[in-house]
Symmetry: C2
């Protein structure tokens, strides 16, 4: 019966390699360059193997990558919590800048992943919780939940607009300071 265990382990290991290969390729050449044929070649198997791991096909692979991304982002935000609102904002933007393709998978693409719903994965709730933790002290009379959503929107907007070359690169740090100035003060 250990044989069976090893085979299961091999399978999960191979699934991991698929997602890993997808992430690397996406980060290097963008998600459009991530084709099932290239992925199959990278893991040295044929195409149908991908579908035995991810019946949903390419979308499911991207969703798996996105879930990894949410876990990593949550971890990053957790360690940044010590830096307060400013530290979290900086960490969030830096994460998105460092792994743009992953961030795309998390937000722009795989938007089928449920979020503000019952079946939202825990890792995704964790991200919101981290943002909430630094917003709550400055919420004052304002409702912390919606205010966190606005704060999150600001960070997300900064990331996506900057990516589309909509913002001037030179003001990058000044923008973050302004975010802190507008959100960091207690409102009551």
């Amino acid at each position: 019966m250990t044989q069976r265990q090893r085979r299961v382990r091999d399978r999960t290991e191979r699934a991991r390699r698929i997602v890993s290969a997808a992430r690397e390729l996406a980060e290097a050449e963008g998600w459009d360059a991530v084709t099932t044929r290239k992925l199959a070649a990278l893991i040295e198997y044929s195409q149908p193997v991908l579908y035995s791991h991810f019946p949903g096909g390419k979308d499911a692979i991207m969703a798996a990558a996105a879930l990894e991304g949410f876990a990593e982002l949550a971890s990053v935000l957790e360690t940044a919590r010590a830096g307060g609102l400013a530290g979290v904002a900086e960490a969030y933007v830096t994460f998105a800048e460092a792994k743009p393709a992953l961030y795309d998978a998390m937000f722009t693409l795989a938007s089928e992943l449920p979020f503000a719903q019952d079946d939202t994965p825990e890792v995704m709730k964790a991200n919101f919780a981290e943002l909430l933790a630094v917003i709550e002290p400055v919420a004052g009379k304002q409702n912390a939940g919606p205010l966190t959503e606005v704060f999150w929107s600001t960070l997300h907007g900064l990331v996506t607009l900057d990516r589309g070359h909509r913002l001037s690169r030179a003001h990058r740090d000044e923008r973050l300071k302004l975010v802190v100035a507008r959100f960091g003060a207690r409102a009551d």
Copy 2:
């Protein structure tokens, strides 16, 4: 020589119909459903005709749609300027909600359109100018340009996160009020 003029007029009219058909189809079924074959069928011509108008192919057609969108958004924001910062914020979000596919073409997709650069089309600068107009009075000692970028990012983030079902629908209006509360006060 009037014949030549009429032929030119017919051509521009047909180009307009292409973009129009693309926008309608995208708004109805999403940009993935906008294929060159369907567009050709809609305008009752064959595929290669599309490329005589838009050598860049589908991307160029989407870019043309995006430019139309920027012009329309600028117009919307201009009339909303009377409503101050709150009015502009509401108008921006409402525009994006009403024409989600168009908004996608403007920001998520055709990101090759230059913006914060020299060859940025005037219509795109106009949008920024409208936002700047309502931010300037509340900038105080803060730099109005970067602050406008942050404000814009917040609106854009609200739109895109909401679209991906990342935010709770119920708090939609409250979020906008919080945006006004955080950006509407003069900072000095």
